[in-house]
Structure formats: structure tokens, C-alpha cells
Symmetry: C2
Subunit: 222 residues, 2 copies
């Protein structure tokens, strides 16, 4: 295995171990020693990748950044906004690292000022898509893309938090669909609203199939 | 001072002290000793009111319960829903105990299963008001009051969390107004929607004046 691949694998292993320990113990109570034991890595390897527990938390937050979500291109750009939250709901339920990252971004005690970055980054990405939707005439005239993006991102954060609290995420897809159905009438012109697909599970499946197909293509070419 | 009044004052003092320490140190890291020192109460007094740190956290959560919000009766019942979140936004900015309680309800590590109760309690209260609004013909035909109540409560939780993260609550009123403006078009029939007041600060001021006026009445009668 090339040296660089090994480093990437080690880094991912550390992040996964940290996600597990943060989830069980909370950020503050977690010690570096526990992460080392869980990940079966040396202190040297951990500090090569992350200078501190806080740096590790920031690394985790990067894992849930919107850049990690492989979105399908849609002719209706507002559908991409619905897709983004449907997919993030899927990742929350299936990827412990994303789950730990979202929890950290909701945990004031953990990261202080820098937890706002996760909200701002997600909102920025959705605002770009909403601007594109506006350019295509998909948005109601009074909509301010950046303000609507903030509402969508922050409301999603609360919906996932309530779902985690009351059902351990079992009802997350249903709650995220309800959220999208509640927000879009304030954003979309009626013909676009009528054509949006709100089925969170179907969206997630389609996007994952698309991502897999693209991966295989890359393998074929290589 | 009658014995019962003294007990109520002591209890409130303990809850305020706990709110302050939880806010600074986080729930897990807080010790009973720190709360005793902050509140200048004896161990006996604290344990008379609260059997454990967890019981104290539950006491704090009760402080942010919807029963603590003195709502105005409105002829348009949906206005009461907007009022409820406007007022909670005001309480978050002005009452450290409510702030600590909301933070606890967003903190998975602190209370585990029972943090869901805060969501469920708030949603139950809003669902009752939404049912009343439906009976008056204020809601669009497809609206399910309990589902809309869940969306409103959880989205509010996320909006306050983002506001805290990015501005320390300085932009909370603006964000809560944006949330209400985004949700109500999916809930209200057009003539009701057009008549709703979304001005968070004005709503909070009016309700507080109303509560004060009622308190004075009680004093006059007594």
C-alpha cells in the first residue's frame, strides 16, 4: 500500500475512533488516551494528523461538510436543495462519523465559536443553489436566498436533534420530509412546488446509486 | 417571610446557580459543590429540593416549559402559535435559566432519553392551539396539527442553536421571524396568513405588558 494511502487510512481510523468515543462520552469528557485505545493507533500517529482534541473535532466537522455529499444535478435546482437535506438525513442514519460531526456542531460546550462554521458552510452552499433556482425563475419574488438557506439549515439541525431525542433517528426521514414540505411553499413558485419530490428515502437511494455508478466509471477508466 | 416563600426563593436560587454553572462548564463537568458555592446554599438545602444533579437538570427543563409563557388570547389562533415562539425567543435572550434549560434540552450527553420530553411538551401545547385554529378554518386542508407542531418546535430549536453559534443570540429575533414567515404559508389559509403579525419584538413587548398588567390586578385584588 502506498505511503499516502496508508496515511489517509490512518487518519480516517483516528476520526472514526474519535467519533465513537465522543458519541459515548461527550466531547469534554473524552481523553486522547481513549481515542488511541479505540483506534489502536500510536500517540505519534495521532499527533501527526491532529495537534489536539479540538483539531480532531474540527477534522470530524469537515467530514459532515456539504462537499462530502455527492449531489445529482437536477433540471429543477430547488430539487437539489431538497436532495441535500434528504441525503444529509441518510448520512446521519448510516455514518457514525457524520453523526458525531453533527452532534459536535450542536454542542456548545465542545467547540465554542467554531461550531458556527458548520452552519455557515452549509448555508453558503444552499444559498448558491437557491440563487441558481432564482435565476431560473423557480423562487417566489420576495425570497432572499441567503435568508432562506439559513432557515433551511438551522431548521434541519433542530429536526435532526428532535428525531435523535425522541426516536434515535428512526423517524428522521419522515421528519425531514415534513420539514421540506413546510418550507417549500414559502420559497417555490406553484408549478415548481407541485413538481418537487419530497420522498427522502427515494432521493437517498437514487443519489447513492448515482455515486456508485460514477465510482465504477472511474475504476473502469483507471 | 413565610416559610413556603422562603423555600420557593431558595429553590429558584439553586436553579439559577445551576443554570450559571451548567452554562460555563457544561452539564457533565459540573459538580454539586460548584453549584453550592455559586448559590451560597447548604448541601442540605440543595438535596431537600433536588435529589441529584439530574433532578436539578430536570427542574431547569421545567423552567422553560410552555406553561411558563403567559400568552395573550388572540382571535386568530395561529397568531398565538407565532406569539409562542416569539416569546420563547425573548425569554432565551433575557432569562439565563431558560437559556440553560434550552441548552440542556439540546445536549444529548446531559439528559439522554428525557431531553425528548421538552420537545414533546412544547409540541403538544402548539398542537392544541393548531387544532383550535383548524376548528376556526384557519388552516389549509391538508395540515396535520401534530405534525406541523413538531416541525415548528424542532425548527425553532435549530434556529436558536444557529443564532447562538453565529451571533450569541444577537440575531435571534430576526431568525425566528424568518422561520415563522417560512412555515406559515404551508399552514395558514391565505387571508389568515396575510393578517399574521411576525414582529417578534413587538409581540414580546405586548405580552410582557399584558403579564405585568395581570400581576398588578392580582395585587390589587389581594
Amino acid at each position: 500500500m502506498p505511503k499516502q494511502d496508508r496515511a489517509i487510512r490512518t487518519r480516517r481510523g483516528i476520526v472514526e475512533a474519535a467519533a465513537g468515543v465522543f458519541e459515548e462520552r461527550g466531547f469534554r469528557a473524552t481523553t486522547i488516551a481513549e481515542i488511541l485505545a479505540r483506534g489502536q493507533v500510536t500517540k505519534g500517529a495521532l499527533y501527526f494528523h491532529f495537534a489536539s482534541k479540538e483539531a480532531l473535532a474540527r477534522g470530524l466537522l469537515e467530514e459532515q461538510s456539504p462537499d462530502g455529499v455527492p449531489l445529482l444535478q437536477r433540471s429543477i435546482r430547488l430539487q437539489e436543495v431538497v436532495d441535500a437535506i434528504a441525503l444529509q438525513a441518510y448520512r446521519l442514519r448510516t455514518d457514525p462519523v457524520v453523526r458525531a460531526a453533527v452532534r459536535l456542531s450542536m454542542d456548545e460546550a465542545a467547540l465554542g465559536g467554531s461550531r458556527g462554521d458548520a452552519f455557515v458552510q452549509w448555508s453558503g452552499r444552499l444559498a448558491v443553489t437557491l440563487e441558481a433556482a432564482a435565476a431560473q425563475g423557480e423562487l417566489l419574488p420576495h425570497v432572499v436566498p441567503s435568508a432562506s438557506a439559513d432557515v433551511i439549515v438551522s431548521a434541519f439541525a433542530g429536526v435532526q436533534s428532535m428525531s435523535q431525542a425522541v426516536s434515535g433517528y428512526a423517524d428522521l426521514a419522515e421528519r425531514v420530509e415534513a420539514l421540506a414540505r413546510h418550507l417549500m411553499p414559502a420559497i417555490a413558485v406553484p408549478p415548481i412546488l407541485a413538481s418537487l419530490d419530497f420522498d427522502v428515502d427515494r432521493i437517498a437511494r437514487a443519489t447513492i446509486e448515482h455515486a456508485r455508478a460514477n465510482e465504477e466509471e472511474v475504476v473502469d477508466v483507471g
